[in-house]
Symmetry: C2
Subunit: 208 residues, 2 copies
């Protein structure tokens, strides 16, 4: 369909909204909208309410900046976890992916992005200062840098390394069992889990 | 990700809602939800509102049963169209697809399904009676049956043919330039348009 003759503005609006989502074309959007149209009113209402609640009520953990329903997230509140190791990741998706490996029992810190001058993202735009503050409190013994092996990820790792170098902590990075150039979120869980177990000191990874 | 450790119930609810949609898996659902989370509050509110409005305010044309914002749809209201030819289709998607060919200037009738005893859909469950009533008014000279060439589509065509046989109208069917077994909505527009221009009397299509 090149030209779109929608029989209804309401239909067209709903299609437009779905078509704004990443990876959803107009044809798929129409299919999803027509599916919803066939559902019960309460079902569609529930869908809409879940989105509004998500956006209006979601909070971020005061400590690690992960998504949370509470002031401090369930991982940071879990006393059974190893509290002096912090794994630094780019997104909450990476936290979920590492949690799914079942190989890591420490805490996290979600940067919410990486340093990317091309996209206008500097060190002050991501959660670096809050990480330094956590280190300054003095309870952290090790920081694991688990960013994606992209140019921006590597830049951010190096920036963090320089910032954290003089604190009495170990700075390590996940073992690159994952091939260079692959995205963290697409790695299989065995490889990703192993790369956390076999993490190496950050300084030695620079010499590769 | 086999096991899903969602950091938030709100997040999980939203993912669950998206994952109910056809063709959307949990991984895609999470990607869409995280995208929405990054948007403005008004943007997400607009998305939710479009869905609620769609479901609560949408109407169906009193004449042709197509989706409409008004009592009678814009096609049925269009005096420039040929008003004595009615094309019978299964879904509103088929109407949109035929409109996009630009080859058809008559009216439509949307059945909203096909007769399918296996799925418990009988003649009374789709808009057959309303079609007969339109024919009885006496303004219609030709009915074009444009259903999908499936067993259910063919059954429905044959049922309609028997019901309409004794009215003073021509009953035709779209030319099967489209290969048998292909779905109407995936046909290219040139072929689909031509199949409407070269429609043949329904009785002759039975002898193939």
């Amino acid at each position: 369909m090149n030209n779109h003759h929608y029989p209804s503005i309401l239909l067209e609006n709903a299609v437009n909204q779905f078509a704004k989502l990443p990876g959803i074309g107009r044809k798929t959007a129409l299919r999803l909208v027509l599916h919803l149209l066939k559902q019960e009113k309460s079902e569609v209402g529930g869908f809409a309410q879940a989105l509004v609640s998500l956006k209006n009520e979601i909070r971020y953990c005061a400590v690690c900046k992960n998504i949370s329903d509470t002031e401090v997230c369930s991982i940071c509140n879990d006393t059974a976890r190893i509290r002096d190791i912090v794994c630094v990741v780019e997104t909450i998706k990476d936290v979920m992916h590492i949690e799914n490996t079942g190989q890591y029992r420490g805490l996290y810190h979600v940067l919410g992005g990486v340093i990317s001058p091309m996209d206008g993202v500097g060190p002050a735009d991501i959660e670096i200062e809050s990480l330094i503050q956590r280190v300054q409190i003095g309870e952290i013994k090790e920081i694991i840098l688990a960013l994606n092996p992209t140019m921006e990820g590597d830049t951010t790792c190096f920036y963090l390394y320089k910032k954290l170098l003089h604190y009495p902590i170990t700075i390590s990075t996940i073992a690159r069992g994952i091939s260079i150039g692959d995205e963290l979120q697409y790695a299989d869980e065995v490889t990703l889990g192993r790369s956390i177990v076999h993490r190496v000191p950050f300084a030695s990874s620079l010499q590769l």
